[in-house]
């Protein structure tokens, strides 16, 4: 039993561990799953941000290149025009005005500089630009570069003569003449378009899709800023102290190496992750094919498009909350599982306790039933004994009387002197050829007495059966108890004749102690109880003894006592005195029946030995309720 309990407890612990493990792995798996899904979503959103940035940067580069190439084409046309070739300034002016008009939103001015550095034409949106005095234009970087290379020039940021940052596109003007078989080119000057950085930036900005949240940046080949969201940075070098000091130290090195990389040309993407801000910077080199026969494009600078991963960041937040939700849900589910398991186990053990208790009750009930069955068996056995004993006397007596009435078949004649096979000779020592008259009288008396006894036992057994099946009928009525007792005591003579051994000469007296005792009880049952107790008292009295019956008022009850002077009650018998067949005296049922009657009438019955008062014998007492 103990080992079963232990193993059940072991199973419970195992079950809880399994549930916790399952809940834990579910939690872990779900967390991992949501993690991977959200990482995937985040990556996809970053990708989308990246590709968005790349698309934008390509588009913007294309616009810028296109615009620069338009400027280049204008300059090419100007350089090749007959007026410029012929040095006809007045004839060329309309061409310059027209050129500026076509790119007015982009270019600051178009100008024509002669080979000697003289400014022949300078035209901006408002008209002719006066030449800056005292400046030798031949030393300007674009002049130097174009004169030296003879090729179109797309320059880095320089300060204009008016100290405005600008980029310059310049085209050589060659006068081509045939000298023999060779074509000879004479450098006649340059045509120039200058683009203020501020204008370039504004132009680029105006080309950005209006809905975009992207940031735009552009630098020239030297790292000078052509455009930035922060206009004060226009013209500054990205590697210069003013820009670098604005970069966070932890972030600057990787950003700078990215800038260096972007300056090598081509295109690419840079993932910026700074202080929780995720951004993609796509870059593309601005390569210009200035002329149709150009083999290698001119590297003008780099364009950057910065796209903040707002979507990715938003998604990361919702994914994090989703992740948390998943974790909390699984934890709750797991917790609920454990709680349910605990509840079930607790319920189980309660059920177990209930079953144990019920089983114990059943066992007890079973024991009681077995006891009852044994008691029933004992009752039958004892009843058989009690019935057979008088039956034996009646049978033997009547047989003897019958034989006596028919002398011819007297058994005496059947039993002459015999010799048994064992050689014992049996001769009647006191031959009794006949019965005396005394014998006959004794037999008749004995038969009558035993017949009475049989009748009484039969009645008692039937009464016990009624008591056991609770079918005893009690008919309550009010009557005067003293009178009743007196009549029973008067009847005692008969009782003594039936029960008492002859010659006992027991005296029965009644001592009424209350004047009138009107009780409410069953008259016949009360008689039975009283006569039963008196009979018992006589039976246990010594010769010449006295039985005293008394009756008195005690509270709401009449108290009747039957006191004898006999041997008293065996102490071992006292506790079960009123049970069936507790004694061998009489039928052994009288006290049981008396107790049942008294209690059915609302009273109590008990017995004491008189030794407490220093006297011999016993006193049986019972109460009956007083009539109201």
């Amino acid at each position: 039993m103990k080992s079963r309990v232990t193993s059940r407890r072991y199973n419970s612990v195992l079950l809880i561990i399994v549930i916790i493990l399952v809940a834990g792995s579910l939690l872990f798996a779900s967390y991992e799953y949501s993690n991977s899904v959200s990482n995937g979503i985040q990556a996809a959103s970053i990708d989308s941000a990246n590709s968005g940035a790349q698309i934008e940067v390509t588009e913007m580069t294309h616009i810028l290149v296109n615009q620069l190439e338009v400027v280049g084409k204008n300059l090419q046309v100007l350089a090749a025009s007959a007026s410029v070739q012929g040095g006809n300034v007045s004839g060329a002016l309309p061409l310059f005005i027209s050129a500026q008009n076509t790119t007015s939103s982009f270019t600051t001015d178009y100008s024509w500089i002669a080979a000697n550095g003289a400014l022949l034409i300078a035209w901006n949106n408002t008209g002719a630009v006066p030449a800056a005095a005292g400046v030798n234009l031949t030393s300007r970087p674009y002049f130097v570069a174009v004169k030296q290379s003879g090729a179109p020039y797309f320059g880095d940021v320089i300060l204009s003569l008016h100290l405005v940052p600008e980029v310059v596109v310049a085209w050589p003007v060659f006068n081509q003449t045939e000298v023999g078989a060779h074509a000879v080119r004479t450098f006649e000057g340059i045509v120039v378009a200058s683009i203020a950085v501020l204008t370039l930036g504004s132009y680029l900005k105006s080309q950005l899709p209006s809905a975009t949240s992207s940031g735009l940046g552009a630098i020239d080949t030297q790292g000078d800023i052509l455009y930035s969201g922060n206009h004060s940075q226009f013209g500054l070098n990205v590697f210069g102290p003013q820009v670098q000091s604005g970069l966070p130290p932890s972030f600057a090195p990787s950003f700078d190496s990215f800038l260096h990389l972007s300056l090598e040309g081509g295109s690419g993407i840079y993932d910026l992750d700074y202080n929780g801000l995720r951004a993609s910077i796509a870059y593309q080199a601005v390569d210009i094919n200035a002329t149709d026969n150009q083999t290698k494009p001119t590297f003008f600078g780099v364009l950057y498009v910065l796209t903040v991963d707002v979507l990715a960041a938003d998604q990361a937040a919702s994914i994090n909350s989703l992740r948390l939700f998943f974790a909390v849900s699984v934890a709750l589910i797991g917790g609920s599982g454990v709680i349910i398991a605990l509840v079930v186990l607790n319920w189980n053990s309660r059920l177990d306790r209930i079953i144990k208790r019920r089983t114990a009750e059943l066992v007890a009930a079973n024991d009681e039933l077995a006891e009852q069955a044994q008691a029933q068996k004992d009752l039958i056995n004892i009843a058989a004994h009690e019935l057979r004993t008088p039956a034996q006397s009646i049978l033997a007596n009547s047989e003897l009387l019958k034989d006596a009435l028919s002398p011819s078949s007297s058994p005496t004649s059947q039993y002459p002197s015999t010799t048994t096979s064992s050689g014992i000779q049996r001769v009647p020592l006191t031959p009794r050829p006949d019965m005396s008259e005394g014998d006959v009288k004794d037999l008749v008396d004995s038969t009558f007495r035993n017949a009475i006894r049989l009748q009484k036992i039969t009645n008692n057994l039937l009464e016990v059966a009624r008591i056991d099946t609770k079918t005893v009928k009690i008919e309550l009525e009010s009557f005067e108890l003293n009178e009743k007792i007196e009549s029973v005591v008067d009847d005692f003579g008969k009782i003594a004749e039936a029960e008492g051994p002859k010659g006992k000469d027991v005296q029965v007296v009644f001592e009424p102690r209350s004047k009138a005792l009107l009780v409410r009880a069953d008259r016949i049952k009360a008689y039975e109880v009283l006569s039963n107790l008196i009979t018992n008292a006589i039976r246990h009295s010594n010769a010449g003894g006295k039985v005293t019956v008394s009756a008195e008022l005690s509270g709401d009850f009449a108290l009747v006592r039957v006191r004898d002077e006999g041997t008293g009650i065996d102490k071992s018998l006292l506790p079960r005195l009123f049970e069936k067949f507790a004694t061998n005296a009489g039928t052994g049922l009288g006290l049981f029946i008396s107790k049942s009657y008294v209690e059915a009438m609302g009273g109590r019955i008990w017995a004491d030995n008189n030794d407490a008062t220093g006297a011999t014998g016993a006193t049986f007492s019972f109460t009956l309720p007083i009539a109201r």
Binding site: E386, E399, L400, P411, S422, R432, S446
Partner: protein, 117 residues
């Protein structure tokens, strides 16, 4: 003959004597024991259920006074043979008569018991 019921003792004694048996009878087992001397009786007819001492115990005591005395038990109880075998393991004790029985049946049983060696 020992039985605590005086009426039974009277009838049995009378009936057996009329059939040629010589019977001493007692309702008090102790008196019966007191009267036994070696060889005084062929057979003891003992009631089993008696106040103070049962028939088996009484027979054991009787045997200490007369080793050769046979026995037949009487009982009014509903006693199964196996139960009797348990209570009286000695084969010499295996004579059991159940009340009520007629004196003729009793006498026949006693005859049969006496025939047995």
């Amino acid at each position: 003959l020992v039985d605590d019921d005086a009426d039974i003792v009277r009838a049995f004694k009378l009936g057996l004597e009329l059939r040629g048996f010589s019977v001493d009878s007692y309702t008090d087992p102790m008196q019966a024991l007191d009267s036994v001397e070696p060889g005084s009786y062929d057979l003891a007819l003992l009631d089993i259920q008696m106040p103070g001492i049962d028939g088996f115990e009484l027979y054991k005591l009787l045997r200490t006074r007369d080793g050769g005395v046979g026995v037949v038990f009487l009982t009014a109880f509903e006693m199964r043979e196996s139960e009797f075998g348990r209570l009286a393991p000695d084969p010499a004790l295996r004579g059991l008569l159940k009340k009520p029985l007629s004196i003729s049946q009793l006498a026949e049983a006693l005859e049969a018991r006496l025939e047995r060696p």
